[in-house]
Amino acid sequence: MERLHLEHVLQSVSALESIILRSFGPEGGQVLFTRDTGRVMLSRSGERILTALHLEHPLARMVVECVWKHSTITGDGSKTFVLLLASLLRMIRATAAKEPHMSRLHNSTAAAAEAATARHLADRLLEFALTELDGLIALNVLPHGSRVSLDDITAKTPPEPSFQTLLLSFFHTRLGNVHCEFFRDLMCELLSRWMGKTGQPSSSFRFIDNNFPALHTQVSGLPAVSSRLIEGHVIHRDFATPWPQQNRRPVKAVVFSGYLQPRLLAAGDVLELGGEESVTEDASVVRFSSWTERSLESVIATLQSFGVSVLLCALKQSSAALALAAQAGMGLVECVSDEEMSLFAQLSGVTPVPDSWAVHPEHIATLTFCKPLILGAHRYVHLDFQDAEERLKVKPCSLVICGPGEEQTDQYARAFQAAIRMLLTAWEPVDKTEISTLDVKETFISNKCTSLPTDAISGESACTSCSMHPHQKCVIEPGCVIPAGGTFEFLLHHALHQYDRSCSVSVSISAFVPVSHILANALLSVPRQIYSHNRKRFLQAQTRVMALAPQQSHILGARLRQTDGPPEDGKQSARSCRKDSAALTLLDLGLESVSCKYHLVLAVVQCLTSLLRVNKVLRTHTVLHTTSHKLLSARLESPEDVDKDESP
């Protein structure tokens, strides 16, 4: 049994931090892994680095679990997660050590008292983050951000701040300095093909995310710049029959989920040959196999009558099926994966045939072409759907990702998927119930704010109402971005300090003071690491951002929470934020999504709370060769590993 002190927690998180730091920020590089199988893996993604570690310490594993959960949803921010967590822990330890009034609780040791204080602080931090953070961000950070439109994805020189810049910054964090522009353009191209003319962007993002394995092909041995988009859909299998040179267009295809040749005997069935009652001339096994062949022939004949020339099958077919299909001039593809089947079904609008002799006209998909395609060492099937553009409002295309080795190709593919997830979080649709508040707020948040005093006031009151409801999920409108390079952290740091001051002035709840203070100072560690190679640049960046943060509007915002401010003030603040955002976009720092950042801070605080609630680690020993059952059952009764009580 091991008692967990704050020191231990900090130690394991710091160990993770030290690995992460090597690939953090603009000067960061790759981390190279070798598995025990000898496979080499390469990554700059925090999530991959951490999950590949196979940690022993339960606390470290818990942290990795949290990071993993966070980044599978948002696709971004795993390195910042660890940094911020370590920084928060350090702040809490420093605060807990200083707090004298806690140590007189009970007659426990100093360490236990420290732990109790830390836990208490973490709980309050979580409560604060859940209730106040969204409001603070909406009020103090969003005015400096701007909304990125998805209309001009493929434009070569779009107006700043653009969607392209957001993607470029993301690829910078994942792939280093080279190929970022190339992959950004490829990504924009991909998105513009898959985004319908109508409908939510987030639904397109979700579609790509869900179908990503079937939508891309990895090719090793070619340089990254050979990556490209190809029209239509790629099935990652080859024709099992010699491919017929057909000139017939359009091509008709049918998808089978079962066997073409009927399986006479299911598992468990028994075929009796030569029993007493059936001793006839015909009762030979030949009769049965010839029956299955005849029914296969009739299936092929039916397909021929429909003019079908391509068969896609989920299962491996018998050699008779292959030969008959070849004789009928059909191309047959077997062992098509489930993902590809489902994507094919979605894009073509037909359902797979479960029973080979029940083929109906509605099972037949129409393709413009279907031919073999050689990518790298493999031959695949390449096809395109007829009238997909009218039917689905998208142009189906498939992504080919190239890299010199498997490791790099894999890394590029993962970066793509993570980028999609990041966009999904950034363009997360707001719940219907919140739309009404958002409509009003748009005037305040986006650049289009009018100087009508009434609007501004209602916007502010909306903010106030948000912060009153702790269960409000998200107040950040889709597609809101802010310059990268620590701007978010600087602004939130500033806002928290302002909030801190106003709270201590107007409301005398001393309990809130250290919490927002801790978060504010912890946040600064992120830009400090970004500029770790050059301290001067850190100060420069901080001054630049701080110069833009309007002093009075925050006090105003905080005051508004208590009392309705006069209309003139609202007008003033609205005007000031417009000017600031224009000034901020001049900084050449790239962009990041505000929504991702908000989710990140929230996730870190949640992780912190659950970490500090653990007080002991029980190390159980697995018995290798059980000689005594009694011993085993005794072991089983003891709790598994750690008493992890996850925070809600």
Binding site: F33, T34, L55, G176, L222, G405, Q408
Partner: protein, 586 residues
């Protein structure tokens, strides 16, 4: 940051919970900033020396044998050599896998990619260029190179003329002669080069539908015969079964049938259920009856050639032979496709229906050929079918294996020319020319580049120098006999001087007769500079201004080399970007 690193090494591997025998796993080995460790640098240098000494026609061979007494492999081919190398350093594994992937795609220039990549990493470190600056600069210089190679007036690109086979043969010969493990004399390598081009031309279909499908070359290795007996035949060579050894050959159109299903008398696919057979029922006989029925039909339909991918029941075989048929079983799945192409037959897999008449194919005639101890059945195509067989002869097995590999590579390289009908000057001339061009160009665009890359001008120029030196060092690797590598200062071609040549010979223009690629002759007016020595940068003159101009005799594949260049730079960039290594040593 440095101080907190040791704590990271304390993180241990999670012991596996699923296996029954639990062994505590040893902790991962972590290396911070691997490129600054002297051990890694030594290993990279060693690797460069090892691979560099295998490069080119006069390369030194390597023998690979493992510590448990396995077979000894003699090779200088990158694909074989790299697969044999294992290193405790994952950085080397990274380079290895990139190069192997390149070779599997393009079949050539593997050693070029490996040596260039290692050299780029080494030079950047030696010159003290910051890693991220080097990466950005290398990327830009690579774009400069590939842009130049795609240009119309590129000095090292030669257009391939498909009207004459001369440049194709030069290309094939360069591939063949760059693999000294084959131990080929001059006429032998010329012969193999010509055979490779002939086989390639036979596999290009004449009446090409869209898209073009190239045919197949089936290689038949024959051990113990002189290399000059190697030959290429249109059609297919199959191992002849023993009963046919006395056959004189079958004239006239021969009807053929191909079976892709087994004719051994096993049960058809009925499902996963059980079959219970009562006494007195002979299922084997029932199935055999059915097979004989098929045989009878084949006989009646006038089939003369009966081929099965899998096993044929001995009784059926005997029956068919008695009927005068040529029976071939177990040809395997890889030969089925060329057989289908050659005969035009549809493979049959249904045993219970009559053979459809459309399934029959035809060959022009069948003859018996003897190669050393081997007896082969030669199927002549009825029409033009793009299938050919290549018989390769060599004295012993090691050399024969390498020769097979070389011929495959030559075929691959020749096929690549169909997509990009160019070749690059060989013999190191492309490398020196590119280096001269990049050196000249980077001096001129340094101000523009530094603003685009966000690094200082010094850093950019240092990185450019590292890049050029790396290219030149690959050219210098071609020389293994103590000679010196020089370039001329007009065309920037690569020349090799024997070790006994002095400065005076060089000035007099009598030292080397021809440049590396054989396009230029030495003359007195030329100015020279040793490779890897300081010299003024200059813009290489186009080849057309040279006199006398000869046909280049050494050519490299354009597609393979350009890809190798890209892969080398990208991999070097990746290696330079690695900041932390975590190694699972279990």
């Amino acid at each position: 940051m440095q101080a907190s690193v040791p704590t990271a090494t304390r993180i241990k591997m999670n012991s596996s919970q699923t296996t029954s025998r639990l062994v505590k796993k040893s902790p991962s080995v972590c290396t911070d900033l691997p490129l600054s460790s002297s051990d890694v640098r030594d290993k990279l240098r060693l690797m460069k020396e090892l691979l560099g000494s295998c490069y080119g026609p006069t390369a030194r061979l390597k023998q690979v044998h493992n510590n448990i007494g396995g077979s000894v492999v003699t090779t200088s081919t990158s694909s074989v050599l790299l697969q044999a190398i294992t290193s405790s350093r994952p950085v080397i594994g990274l380079i290895k896998s990139s190069v192997l992937n390149h070779v599997s795609r393009f079949g050539d220039c593997g050693l070029f990619a490996a040596v260039l990549c290692l050299s780029l990493v080494e030079e950047a470190a030696r010159r003290g260029v910051g890693n991220s600056a080097a990466i950005r600069a290398y990327d830009r210089l690579l774009a400069l190179c590939t842009g130049y190679l795609q240009r119309e007036d590129c000095g090292c690109r030669v257009e391939l003329d498909f009207c004459s086979s001369r440049s194709l043969i030069a290309l094939a010969r360069t591939v063949v002669s760059s693999k000294p493990t084959c131990v080929l004399a001059e006429p032998e390598s010329a012969h193999i080069g010509r055979l490779a081009v002939r086989a390639f031309l036979l596999t290009v279909p004449c009446d090409a539908p869209d898209p073009v499908r190239l045919g197949r070359t089936v290689t038949v290795p024959v051990e113990g015969r002189p290399v000059l007996e190697s030959a290429v035949f249109p059609g297919l060579l199959l191992d002849a079964p023993e009963h046919l050894c006395g056959l004189a050959g079958v004239r006239g159109p021969v009807r053929a049938v191909l079976f892709s299903a087994s004719l051994a008398g096993d049960l058809g696919e009925l499902g996963d259920g059980r079959i219970e057979v009562h006494a007195g029922v002979d299922t084997d006989a029932q199935i055999l009856d059915r097979l004989l029925e098929l045989g009878r039909q084949a006989l009646e339909d006038g089939v003369k050639l009966f081929v099965c991918q899998k096993v044929i029941h001995p009784v059926l075989q005997h029956y068919l032979r008695c009927g005068g048929l040529i029976v071939i079983e177990r040809v395997g799945v890889s030969l089925m496709e060329p057989l289908i192409q050659l005969t035009g037959a549809q493979p049959v897999a249904t045993l219970h229906a009559a053979i459809p008449s459309a399934a029959y194919g035809e060959v022009h005639d069948v003859s018996i050929r003897h190669f050393g101890s081997k007896t082969m059945l030669h199927l002549h195509p009825a029409g033009e079918t793009a299938v050919c067989s290549m018989v390769l002869c060599h004295r012993n097995e090691t050399m024969l294996n390498e020769l097979k590999l070389v011929c495959q590579k030559a075929e691959h390289v020749l096929r690549l020319t169909l997509r990009e009908p160019w070749a690059l000057l060989g013999g190191g001339c492309t490398e020196t020319l590119l280096a001269a061009y990049v050196r000249h160009k980077s001096k001129n665009d340094a101000p523009e580049a530094t603003s685009a890359l966000g690094c200082s001008q010094t850093e950019y120029l240092l990185a450019a120098e590292a890049f050029c030196r790396s290219l030149e060092s690959v050219a210098a690797c071609l020389e293994h006999d103590g000679g010196a590598s020089v370039i001329d200062l007009t065309h920037a071609h690569h020349w090799t001087l024997p070790s006994d040549v002095t400065e005076q010979h060089l000035e007099g223009g009598t030292a080397a007769a021809l440049c590396g690629c054989g396009a230029l002759e030495s003359c007195q007016k030329k100015k020279w500079s040793y490779l890897n020595s300081e010299c003024a940068e200059f813009s290489p003159a186009p080849l057309s201004t040279a006199s006398p101009l000869r046909q280049p005799a050494v050519l490299d594949s354009f597609s393979a080399k350009v890809n190798a260049l890209r892969v080398a730079v990208e991999t070097a960039n990746l290696v330079l970007d690695v900041r932390y290594v975590i190694q699972d040593v279990n």
